[in-house]
Amino acid sequence: MAIETHTNVSHDVHGHAHHDGHHHHKETFITKYIFSEDHKMIAKQFLISGLIWAFIGGAMSIIFRLQLGFPDMNLSFLRPILGGWILETGKLDPEFYLALVTMHGTIMVFFVLTAGLSGTFSNFLIPLQIGARDMASGFMNMLSYWFFFVASLIMFFSIFLETGPASGGWVVYPPLSALPQAMPGSGLGMTMWLVSMALFIVSSLLGGINYITTVINMRTRGMSFSRLPLTIWAFFLTAIIGLLSFPVLFAAALLLIFDRSFGTSFYLSEIYIDGQALPNMGGSPILYQHLFWFLGHPEVYIVLLPALGITSEIIATNARKPIFGYRAMVMSMVAIGILSFIVWAHHMFVTGMNPFLGSIFMFLTLIIAVPSAVKAFNYITTLWRGNIIFTPAMLFSIGLVSVFISGGVTGIVLGNNALDIQLHDTYFVVAHFHIVMGSASFFGFMAGVYHWFPKMFGRMMDPNLGYLHFWLTFIGIYMVFFPMHYIGIAGFPRRYYSFTSFDAFKIFSDLNMFISAAAIITFAAQSIFAFNFIYSIFKGKKAPENPWLSNTLEWTTPRLPGHGNWEGDIPTVHRWAYDYSKPNADKDGFDDFIPQYVPLSKTPHSNLPHEQELAKFEQEEEQSNVNAQH
């Protein structure tokens, strides 16, 4: 039944595509490159915006790392860029330090790892891998990018305000963020932060609805849910998580806007500041934290799941082996997705929240370690007895599994409320989430770029520069973030401009210097990537259609797929995406991979017993379809 309806749909879509095909030459520069409704162009727009943001966010971290690693350094040379934020003494302004920390967090979490990662690869891969001509709504997709673009512009300009951008940490807890008299960054900078985030949420929702609709409705014939590549599963679940959690952040931001501008008291109560008692009574700053983390924690998985999906695909392809435990992988992602909604208060163990809630949330938090562990074990087992080709994408994927584990295990410490009392808001937390969320997602991002670059731009990136980039980045991030555990265990609080005020934090100045040096080197190593990326777009070696000998549908498109993706019919899917190194495939005339579009009836020797059954059914179907058409 389902198959029959699909037939009709795909034929319809196909008809339209041909129609579109005739108008190709009429596309103007504006419709093709700017207000494009083509999912591939929108993906590239997200990619390039995300990468630009990544360099801005990274550069910010280098400036505050200079302050932390070399507190006595004269930073006057930064005055041409930072102007008055460098004090007369050549030191960084403490308030601007907080502004940098805040902007770094906001940019990296939302603009790079949400929009840049999910926006790029969900847009690019969903239609290509499920066999669709485009997204369900190309127009909404275009809007999604342009809302993001406007959000980006507003956030970017807020950096140049005289009072500075938002400075209360990326979580912008009120009352600090609600009261301009508490710090200059809570003035216009904070207003722009809120407006920008509101637009960003609109962008996310428009994108998310589109991803979900496309995955549900537009899969090609034969592409059942159980045959979806894990990338698509990851993007699909990510979009659902985003759709359910981002509106809550929107509510939180809206109430904060009300408190700031219209005199309400949702988050404010009993405040005496600047020699004045404020009229606000009855609000609760804790309410904001609940609302914020109700998005904030799922957000971790919004940035992580796409990276894990990308990794699954790349590891299977380059180990020349099916992903181990496909069902377990899907189920653990579903479990992570559900659990991600009921662990948020582990960010709030010591906020004065009822200790009973602390108990509950510790329990729920530690459960989430189980599906995460299952995923890690499955990746490792996929490598076992593989035939591994170390492409740059594969290197980054293996690196991802390593950092996912290294950062994940420290979550077991932090998720325990009794231990979190000491470690909360120390560098231990900074180390934990930069490894498990920051680095892992960033590695997934890079892996994805290296892997799908040939399909995006029709050219190959230089692999040797890719290897160099990987090893410098991999060693670099461990050198930057691993030592932070020691600093955190010693109790150093995060968001500190300097550690000289306390006897307890006078140690480790050498280690802080080491971390800063490592951060500078790691950041500099990214220029190798930037060069490789830009150079290869124009001058890279021309890519073959299927450079990694992969099974998924995107590699059946032309070198540079046009609008509509496939020139002829959309391929029909007959098998899952992981038939790598299938026994007896050579007898069927295949190398070590059988792409998804190959009918089971063409591979009688390599079919598994249940596939043999399916092959018969498939042939009958095919026959009846042919009959119906004639």
Binding site: P493, F499, K541
Partner: protein, 351 residues
């Protein structure tokens, strides 16, 4: 001039690097690829072993070097419990970390591409999946139960004889108040705050009459202490690393933390061989420009010294007698009268 020379040198280095890159791309174009992998596959595989091994050596070495700075010496009853649990958890996760990373990198090295080798089509094994679901689940259950037990030891109700100290955070310092001889803290209200009565104490409340402020915290050793914590302007967080104590200070929502210090400041000074040692409280919730410098000293002393110090403190009212009887009711009445006056004046302006 120096800048210019550096610029030229950098430009030269970059152009040399670019030339090298061009040469290697051209060479790789000329070479016809016979194998699926390039000559770097072996090197990458080798690095999959070498880099983690070097990393592991550094990890072991530095963990030894840094061990003197791990968790500062615990000085509270619950601190010993959480430290014990912390180290057990660290051992467990280090074992997990090593096991999984070793397998990951070893497999990556061992199963590097070999011409003619065919990967195994091993893609599912329910028994394996069940095993590695149950093992972490069992470990987590144990950690949850253990942690939960300690959590409730810490979060238990305070005993009646606990020494009560009130801490108030504001931008950018802490204020400390003791209940005085009657052992009862007087009420407060944020609207009563001014430059002298910085904690907004309500002196209509008789309990407030003997309350006194202090520039530092004095507490007796081996006696339960209850910190009553609040904030006046934005969020702050009380963090006393040696006591393993952390609790946010929230405007409009008082919080508390109960603990028992086990070592006097003097004991710590001899133990750590540091005559200048002091227990410190820091702020761990970002609160603005001076966030990194909200230092408060805690002095733990034996019962007798503490009592002597306590008895010697003068109540706030003794130092500021004109605040006697000033409180919320008076404030509200005055406010009401003022606003009524205002309304009348405004009304009289309307013709």
């Amino acid at each position: 001039m120096l800048g210019f020379i550096i610029g030229v040198i950098v430009a030269l280095i970059l152009s040399v690097l670019f030339m090298l890159f061009r040469i290697q791309t051209l060479v790789s174009l000329v070479k016809t690829a016979k194998s699926r992998v390039d000559s770097f596959n072996k090197l990458n595989a080798a690095l999959m072993l070498i880099v983690p091994v070097i990393g592991f050596i550094l990890f072991i070495w530095y963990s030894g070097v840094a061990s003197q700075y791990y968790l500062p010496e615990p000085a509270s009853e619950h601190g010993k419990m959480t430290d014990g649990m912390f180290w057990i958890t660290i051992y467990v996760i280090t074992a997990m970390f090593l096991l999984t990373n070793v397998l990951l990198f070893f497999f990556a090295f061992r199963y590097q591409y070999k011409e003619g080798y065919k990967a195994s089509f091993f893609h599912d094994n329910t028994r394996l999946e069940i095993v590695w679901t149950i093992i972490p689940a069992a470990i987590m259950t144990w950690l949850v139960l253990y942690g939960n037990y300690i959590w409730w030891e810490i979060m238990k109700d305070p005993p009646k004889d606990a020494v009560v100290v009130e801490l108030m955070g504001h931008q950018f310092a802490w204020k400390v108040r003791y209940p005085g001889k009657d052992n009862a803290l007087g009420k407060y209200d944020f609207r009563l705050t001014d430059n002298v009565n910085e904690m907004g104490i309500d002196f209509e409340d008789k309990n407030a009459n003997d309350d006194f402020m202090s520039g530092e915290i004095h507490i007796p050793v081996n006696h339960p202490i209850l910190f009553k914590i609040r904030a006046r302007d934005v969020l702050h967080s009380v963090f006393a690393p040696h006591f393993r104590l952390k609790m946010d200070a929230v405007p409009g929502m008082p919080t508390q933390f109960l603990f028992t210090p086990t070592k006097t400041t003097e004991q710590m000074r001899t133990e750590l061989n540091n005559p200048k040692f002091n227990y410190e409280i820091a702020c761990t919730e970002v609160c603005g420009r001076g966030h990194f410098a909200m230092r408060l000293i805690v002095i733990v002393e034996d019962e007798a010294t503490y009592k002597k110090w306590y008895a010697a403190q003068k109540p706030f009212l003794e130092n500021n007698p004109n605040y006697k009887g000033k409180g919320l009711n008076q404030y509200l009445k005055k406010n009401l009268a003022e606003s009524q006056q205002n309304t009348k004046e405004k009304a009289s302006l309307i013709p």
